[in-house]
């Protein structure tokens, strides 16, 4: 068997394949990542219990976010779905002050968006779950932080802040995430 001759055809195919490299067309990067992050935020709500006073049995779930246009578009796919039998009402916030977050059951902060200290205090007082997906900006900046790790997105939960907000997180979720006491 003449291996060099046999190798020629498949090697040529390999070369031809990678000669196609210049055909690569750039697209807005990170769409998939945004979808995964949005899905994660939606999914963790199954494991959180809000006090009945802030999430009445028949009321909608107000899902607030501070994000750019692309993420807003991704989040639009969640609107109309339900969280614990509450229909999701999506609200995009222009700012992140205490006035803006009033009435939100969840605030999702993307990128470097953050709540000011008074807004965070208001969120805690109103049992609003604050989720952030940007770089960690310090203590008391989010109750749930999305953390990139090994090409995936993982979660870190600030348990003290969650408790202060009178939210309850199921132990099943805590087993899957990093817990910051």
């Amino acid at each position: 068997m003449n291996y060099p001759a046999r190798l020629a055809a498949p090697l040529a195919a390999l070369l031809a394949m990678f000669a196609l490299l210049p055909m690569a067309v750039a697209q807005a990067p990170g769409t998939r990542e945004r979808q995964i992050r949005a899905a994660l935020v939606y999914k963790i709500t199954r494991f959180v219990t809000w006090p009945g006073t802030v999430l009445p049995a028949t009321g909608p779930f107000t899902f607030c976010h501070v994000s750019d246009d692309v993420t807003s578009q991704v989040l639009a796919g969640i609107e109309g779905r339900a969280i614990q039998d509450h229909r999701i009402r999506m609200r995009r916030l222009d700012g992140a002050d205490s006035k803006a977050v009033a009435g939100c059951n969840l605030v999702y902060l993307t990128g470097t968006n953050a709540l000011a200290a008074d807004a965070m205090a208001a969120a805690v007082a109103a049992s609003t779950l604050v989720v952030a997906d940007g770089p960690r900006l310090g203590d008391n900046t989010a109750m749930v932080q999305l953390v990139p790790q090994d090409n995936r997105v993982t979660l870190a939960v600030d348990l003290a802040l969650v408790r202060a907000a009178q939210l309850r997180i199921d132990a099943t979720l805590l087993q899957m995430v990093e817990v910051r006491q």
């Binding site: 068997m1 498949p10 990678f18 899905a39 090994d150």
Partner: protein, 712 residues
């Protein structure tokens, strides 16, 4: 305090149903929302776009072993990882050889299961089986292993007769950093692996690994002495992923491996002692390179082009020496622009070029080779085409899948493998599915142009003295030895029509159950036929030729059984998997498989089937408990039971129950110390026997080893 992403995720892990089918952005977003949290946590951010599908949304019997399962398992080989998969039968023959099958017809040369590593088929065209010793992928680099029981012929090809094992390694982007692992113990004497991943520019990532191990021999069941089947191997590989945004992804990867494994061979001779125990050494090496291009053509459509080259060399003492070069091109197009349709079409070309010689190293020079008629070289070509469409009949509730694969081999013609599947999901927590599919096993190289020496029958009155030697068939009494050989005649494709049904139910976020039932109707399975032996030298039909020849002139008789496709039969069974997290830190996973098969040749015509239906246990179960206490400590206990089997003529193997365990402690985020135990309940136990009677019976020993893993 870092905690691993999550505990075991298999029951809810991702399923890559296609080799690399792609999903449009909008649809993928909805798919992600419909997955459960464990699945979303398992998604790679920058992976080449594929068609993600939840196990609960698959109209097939699927089990997924995730990277986390592998990390927490005490198993250090692929076969050992597969032991707890429902519906899969895994049994050790020697320290480096296994019989592995899905849904029956198991054996050393089990030939009805397709195994893919990153889309590269690793079944050997020589006997249509898998050399499991050579599949030495670094376990730490495996992203997940998807096991699909039942014919998967539509998407994967001719050998996915009883199932497909799809091993998918991590992308380079998710293998960043350096990891060193060292382990040592009584059976796993020493193992080391080093892997490293990094970035090579903005959109490019790479990883490489080197690993090696030295494993101790098992025990001869007959004498308790060492079976001298100790096993040493080393491998190295690298992968480069690069692309541009979300629309193009390229992968180039390759591996090289070399190994040496002892085998307690029983060789056949035409002189006393006729059957002789001879410890031998098998040497094997291989190299492969894979190139893959995935492109998002539009919002809805994508394509994948994959090319691979695979070289293998195996010097299998007393059996054959084989060199093989395979190249393969696969193209797939995934189209979702037609409303309610999700269509994948593909075409594949393969050429496999081989060269054979007698493997005489370390055995008596006059020993008969088990595989004969193979010297010289040959080329096998295959062309295949497939199309599969998931048609949404009722959005979110009812999906019909229609598919067919057409394969053409010059020597066997064209074979069609159609399948039809229905998935009904009345709610997010219930799914019911059913399928009818047809699959074929195309004849192997040995089937078409080879003979197998099954055994040498002893002459009347001769007594074996070596306790290791299996006696053989001993059907008739003759003054001279009789060589039993199979292989004249013609083997055509074997066929199965499989009827499958299943239900998957998620009772809550912590409890899910998956039940599948199947019936396989076999048609045209391989047979051999008993014929009167002929005198050698001289020819003529025994016993007349013996009586008419001068005394002493006939040295042996040879019975060359013609092969064909005259066995029919069935196999049916039920498989159940349960996944339960009763309290936060404790996770339980259980699996039960019940199985029965019956294959029958036309015994009246002297025909017999060459696959043994009695080589598969009627029942097997496993129960694994994962305890994740205090985040720094993991404990895993796994109990498994396998019923008795009769893997070869005259050899019955008792059922056994065994316990595996792993205790790991992470004093620092980058350091893990683990103690692994396998087969802890017995000092040794036998699991199987080679149906060819070419290997002395061996027993697997209790194994304990420690492992240190350091990341930096």
């Amino acid at each position: 305090m870092k905690h691993p992403r999550n505990p075991r995720r298999s029951a809810r892990a991702l399923l890559l149903m296609a080799l690399a089918a792609a999903a449009p952005a909008g649809q993928a977003a909805q798919d992600f929302l419909d997955m459960d949290l464990r699945e979303v946590l398992d998604l790679e951010i920058t992976t080449a776009s594929r068609k993600p599908q939840s196990v609960s949304q698959a109209a097939a019997a699927v089990h997924v072993i995730t990277a986390e399962d592998i990390r927490r398992s005490p198993a250090r080989t692929l076969p050992d990882l597969l032991r707890t998969v429902p519906g899969l039968q895994v049994a050790s023959i020697t320290s480096s050889t296994w019989a592995i099958s899905a849904r029956g017809l198991n054996g050393r040369s089990a030939n009805k299961l397709l195994v893919l590593i990153d889309g590269r088929s690793v079944y050997s065209p020589l006997f249509s089986g898998v050399n499991w010793d050579a599949q030495d992928t670094a376990l730490e680099d495996i992203e997940r292993i998807e096991v699909v029981r039942g014919p998967g012929g539509t998407l994967w090809g001719a050998n996915a007769f009883h199932g497909v094992i799809n091993i998918i390694t991590r992308s380079a982007a998710s293998s960043q950093g350096t990891q060193l692992s060292l382990s040592a113990g009584n059976e796993q004497k020493f193992a080391a692996s080093l892997k490293h991943g990094g970035k090579a520019g903005e959109d490019a990532n790479y990883r490489f690994y080197v690993k090696g191990f030295d494993r101790d021999a098992s025990r001869l069941t007959s004498t308790g002495a060492s079976a001298r089947d100790d096993w040493r191997a080393a491998s190295a590989g690298a992968r480069l992923d690069f692309g541009s945004g979300d629309s193009n992804a390229f992968t180039i990867q390759g591996d090289y491996h070399y190994g040496e494994a002892g085998e307690p061979t029983i060789v056949n001779l035409l002189r006393p002692p006729y059957r002789q125990y001879v410890p031998t050494q098998t040497r094997y090496e291989g190299a492969n390179v894979v190139g893959r291009w995935q492109r998002q053509v539009s919002e809805s459509d994508s394509l994948t082009l994959q090319v691979f080259l695979d070289y293998t060399h195996r010097d299998w003492a007393a059996h054959t020496r084989e060199r093989r070069l395979t190249w393969d091109v696969d193209f797939q197009y995934h189209l979702r622009s037609v409303p309610r349709n999700d269509l994948i079409i593909g075409v594949g070309l393969r050429q496999s070029d081989d060269a054979f010689a007698a493997a005489t190293r370390g055995i008596p020079s006059d020993a008969l080779q088990f595989v004969q008629g193979q010297t010289g070289s040959g080329v096998q070509n295959m062309v295949s085409f497939f199309a599969q469409d998931d048609i949404t009949l009722l959005p979110d509730h009812l999906t019909l899948t229609l598919g067919a694969k057409i394969e053409h081999l010059p020597e066997t013609g064209t074979e069609v493998s159609p399948n039809v599947r229905m998935l009904w999901t009345p709610s997010a927590s219930w799914s019911f599915w059913g399928a009818v599919s047809r699959a074929v096993r195309t004849p192997s190289r040995v089937d078409r142009r080879g003979q197998v020496v099954a055994a040498v029958e002893l002459p009347a009155g001769f007594v074996l003295t070596q306790p290791e030697v299996l006696r053989g068939f001993n059907q008739i009494s003759s003054p001279v030895p009789i060589v039993l050989q199979q292989g004249s005649g013609h083997v055509d494709a074997e066929r199965v029509v499989a009827f499958e049904a299943g239900v998957k139910h998620r009772f809550s976020d912590t409890l899910s159950v998956d039940v599948a039932a199947f019936r396989n109707e076999y048609d045209r399975l391989r047979t051999a036929q008993l014929v009167p032996p002929a005198c050698a030298p001289g020819g003529g039909i025994a016993p007349a030729c013996l009586l008419n020849s001068p005394p002493g002139s006939v040295q042996y008789l040879i019975e060359n059984s013609p092969v064909g496709n005259r066995t029919d039969g069935y196999g049916h069974g039920v498989e159940m998997a349960i996944d339960w997290t009763p309290v936060g830190p404790l996770r339980l996973q259980g699996a039960v498989s019940l199985f029965k098969s019956l294959t029958e040749a036309n015994y009246a015509a002297g025909e017999f089937e060459t696959d043994r239906d009695s080589g598969t246990p009627r029942a097997q179960w496993s129960l694994s408990a994962y305890w994740n206490a205090g985040r720094k400590t993991d404990l895993m206990l796994g109990l498994r039971h396998v019923d008795s089997t009769s893997p070869a003529i005259g050899i019955d193997v008792d059922g056994y129950t065994e316990l595996d365990a792993r205790l790991a402690w992470r004093p620092r985020a980058n350091l893990e110390l683990a103690l692994h135990g396998r087969n802890l309940l017995h000092s040794q136990h036998q699991e199987y026997a080679s149906e060819l009677l070419d290997v002395a019976l061996t027993s697997v020993e209790r194994s304990v080893f420690g492992k240190v893993t350091l990341k930096f």
